[in-house]
Symmetry: C2
Subunit: 250 residues, 2 copies
DNA sequence: CGTTCTCTTGACCAGCATCAAAATTTGTGG
DNA sequence: CCACAAATTTTGATGCTGGTCAAGAGAACG
């Protein structure tokens, strides 16, 4: 499952480049709320870390010592049951914040999907900064609100939609979450593999694969590569995602 | 489904009793963060409304003109698919805040389960108050974090647990969410009916009913009434909820 | 006390999981 | 660049969990 065990050393430290001022993810992150002149404050605390694909960032139950911002790449967060069943609760991309729900310990595990870089803050610094810069707290609250709304959509997908509708929902929603790499219009990049999609949608790999095949047969999508989808009929795909369609093949 | 259509007039207006100072839900709500001397500020904006069972508070897509605090009773929030499939995304009790994820319009519908009273703030007042009393914003952010963590648990329930485990999870988690009415230890009060539980757990009424029967047959619970559960074996119930058990009947 | 709603139980069925294997892609070393 | 090995994806056959349809048992209400 892990592409690279747990071995390669973590490449962490101060940024070589200009820091927060020219962070590509800033416009999409909570840091966008910090004015240019206050950016030094952030820079002083931020620490950039680079993760290879498959690297575990932290695990459910670990003491929550840091919060993170995704700068580039993609991260998945998930929960495990005792017997290994896994629920991926989110895919995170550039600009996303990690650590919102955490109290003393993390409530989920986090792992890099592909080579990624993140910005890390010590929990104490983070709290102090929040107490000082209230625009940050507002930005975080707004983000939390959006995530809560998204979580309710996810519950509806997991609780009430059929396999085909789940995959359609996923393909419709995914592009909006990866602001740095929108790709060509109508194309959806899939950095995660089928197993991860399955664990995100509450299905098995086989069912996800069969659902991809069905979407192709219905002419709604085309697979340009195993990790690149061309959406052929956005309207019909969206209808499927919203539960407004489910007729047999013509 | 609706116990009382939409007819009886909404009983809204200033509180007859003392206001925020002696609000029974305050210790459990974000208002707990407001100091006693600042309470007048809250009082000036708050409007108490009483809802009969089944009354719809707002519907998904309605312009978000208010936020609410539940004072007593219970409320469900839910989303509907085009063909009527319903996902109940939360049951709310005294102290719970409604309106966190809302932007311009509500992302879910909200409806009273039983006769309930709520505290209502105009969206503008709410924003103004938040800008002024930052401890409120912090309290809200903390609450949002807890809700986000709960949402991830819900996703795991909906995506990866079997019917019996879902019901066990529900019975284990429910008491903690209703602070004003903890009931006797080991007892769980169920203000909502089987259909609502089903729509909360992503199941059908029949499956929920069969799962109750199974929990009884296994000796994990006893039904004192249709809406009152006696937990007989908390440990085994919790094990089931966490996916650490699923053996056939002895 | 009958009417109506809710809950429970039973019989049957379908969607998705499971088990198994083939096809395709990715990675590695010559 | 090619050949081989390993991993991922797809496809197929079969079975089980939970959904659907139907009817009976309890509660709630007038």
């Amino acid at each position: 499952m892990l592409k690279f065990g747990g071995s390669p050393p973590e490449c962490a430290g101060r940024r070589a480049s200009g820091g927060c001022a020219d962070c590509p993810a800033r416009p999409f992150s909570i840091c966008a709320s910090v004015s240019d002149e206050d950016l030094g404050r952030l820079d002083a605390m931020a620490e950039t870390i680079a993760l290879p694909a498959g690297r575990i960032l932290f695990q459910e139950g670990d003491p929550a010592r840091h919060v993170f911002n995704v700068v580039s790449g993609s991260v998945r967060i998930y929960k495990l049951l005792a017997d290994g069943r896994r629920q991926v609760t989110g895919f995170l991309f550039a600009g996303d914040f990690i650590g919102l729900g955490a109290g003393d310990s993390y409530g989920v595990s986090a792992e890099a999907i592909e080579a990624s870089s993140l910005c890390r803050f010590r929990m104490g610094d983070y709290r102090a900064l929040m107490a000082e810069r209230r625009e940050l707290e507002s930005a975080l609250l707004e983000r939390a609100g959006r995530e809560l709304a998204a979580a309710q959509d996810r519950m509806t997908v997991l609780g009430r939609k059929r396999a085909l509708e789940r995959l359609a929902s996923f393909l419709v929603a995914l592009p909006a979450s990866d602001p740095l790499r929108p790709g060509l219009p109508g194309q959806v990049r899939l950095p995660m593999n089928r197993t991860e999609i399955a664990d995100y949608l509450g299905l098995t790999v086989e069912t996800v694969s069969r659902s991809f095949t069905q979407l192709k047969q219905r002419g709604l999508i085309r697979l340009l590569a195993v990790d690149l989808v061309q959406v052929e009929q956005p309207g019909r795909l969206r209808a499927l995602a919203e539960g407004r369609a489910l007729a047999p093949l013509p």
